[in-house]
Point group: C2
DNA sequence: CCATCTTTGTGCACGCGTTCACAAAGACAT
DNA sequence: ATGTCTTTGTGAACGCGTGCACAAAGATGG
């Protein structure tokens, strides 16, 4: 408002819209790239383009954090990187546990994106006794029996669930009981948690189904009249009769 | 201006709101579970609880599809499974390619959720010549050189990108040029695509950062005055000097 | 056939998020 | 110092999504 260096702006953290919070990591990534190229300042227009959003939206998003820009110039890259990092809580190190070290869990353990952005994999946990002690991503897998102790010893408040769907709720309950208050769920299940616990889900199957919906719509529009153009699946897979709307519930199981 | 921007895909899709489309897979999953238990009908209230949404929202969502319920009774499970499957385009088989067979790509290839819900992994593609021919999930990895031919031969219209960030845009361009019109992107980059191509992104790092934000807010509220309570990371990790608000942008690289 | 009861389908109001458009703020040149 | 030019920050309008609350529809029992 007045000074450009307001440390504690009137903007309560509660006042930051959820949609804005979800975009902050996007901005941070773009800013970090600029920082590495030693770009000193950036305009809202440029940064918005890099982050793939509207410039007006970006400016409004930043306005919730405070007045960190300079009119006529733009934003100081380093300063903004720091402010967003602080706002997101990345200036501290968050220990996380990954439960369920199957293919996906192992992939997550190896994912570099964790360690590099303020997160640290504190432990890998699996229910299979055969996995215990086996090293994954340079770290021994621990057994589910020790889950509570691991959470407590490491002060973990963020848990990642990569178990099969059937085990997810049970694991979730134990994590919450042990003190975890934020969960990233990769299992295809709806988790129920008490108030005060945040759950975010990543569901590959759902994302694909959404894409399929749009894909079908595109195919349907294109070949609405020009029925000559077969849908992609049928293009090469021989012929798969598919009327504009089927009549027989030939549905496959889950 | 030089950077091509990724405009939002057309929000209007056949009258069905995007938010509703995103929930249909959720309903489908819950319905499939009921179907396996041979439950004949279900009320909006029950189904909503199973899917973790509001019952009014569910009814409104279904109303966009048509009047498939019976007042006083509820919805016929089998019929609804079929209707939603058809709406989502799952009554046909979608061949997908996965590009980038690292840890994540391999995990995706092994993920059962693909094959079981109308999707079929048509090919695994990687740029590393050493990977070529090596079997992953019972399928030989093919080299990037053959990407265009693979897409064309299999009539693929959905591509999954699991490459490092640096390669993602290039892979994306080739996929699009080869005819792919829907992309599921796991690489931490903003992809720019021409109109008519849908991109959905799954970003582990972003999800974690959003959780961290809320986690910090929770911790901040609890220990607003009681500074004695250290943030979780410091609770066990010895001492990690971190003032409540630093002044030096000691930001770590991407 | 009528009354009652259950559950759907939806009109409506409200709140959030997005976008536009512009005044205010500051840099920079003269 | 003053004017011009660039870019931010934001008031306001708009549109979408959500949830309430209820009438309509149909099942069920007498």
């Amino acid at each position: 408002m007045a000074t450009g260096r307001t440390h504690r702006p009137a903007t309560r953290s509660r006042g930051i819209p959820e949609a804005t919070v979800a975009r902050l990591p996007l901005y941070l990534r773009a800013l970090t790239a600029l920082s590495e190229r030693s770009v000193p300042t950036v305009s809202s227009e440029e940064l918005a383009a890099a982050a793939g959003v509207n410039s007006a939206k970006l400016r409004k998003d930043f306005s919730y954090l405070g007045s960190y820009g300079t009119r006529g110039v733009g934003y100081d890259v380093e300063y903004l990187v720091y402010q967003i990092s602080r706002e997101l809580g990345l200036t501290q190190d968050w220990p996380v546990v990954i439960v369920g070290i199957g293919n996906l869990g192992a992939a997550l353990a190896n994912y570099g994106g964790f360690a590099s952005r303020g997160f640290r994999v504190a432990a890998l946990i699996d229910a299979d006794p055969a996995m215990a002690g086996k090293p994954v991503a340079g770290m021994p897998v621990q057994h589910t029996d020790d889950l509570e102790k691991i959470i407590d010893d490491n002060g973990v408040s963020i848990g990642v669930i990569a178990t099969p769907a059937g085990a997810a709720q049970q694991v979730c309950d134990r994590l919450v009981a042990a003190g975890v208050t934020s969960i990233l769920n990769f299992a295809p299940t709806v988790l129920s948690v008490p108030d005060g616990v945040d759950v975010r889900k990543v569901d590959l199957s759902i994302e694909l189904q959404i894409l399929a919906f749009h894909e079908q719509r595109k195919a349907g529009e294109e070949s609405a009249e020009a029925a000559a153009v077969l849908p992609p699946a049928a293009r090469a897979a021989g012929e798969d009769r598919k009327g504009p709307d089927g009549d027989v519930p030939a549905v496959m199981p889950a």
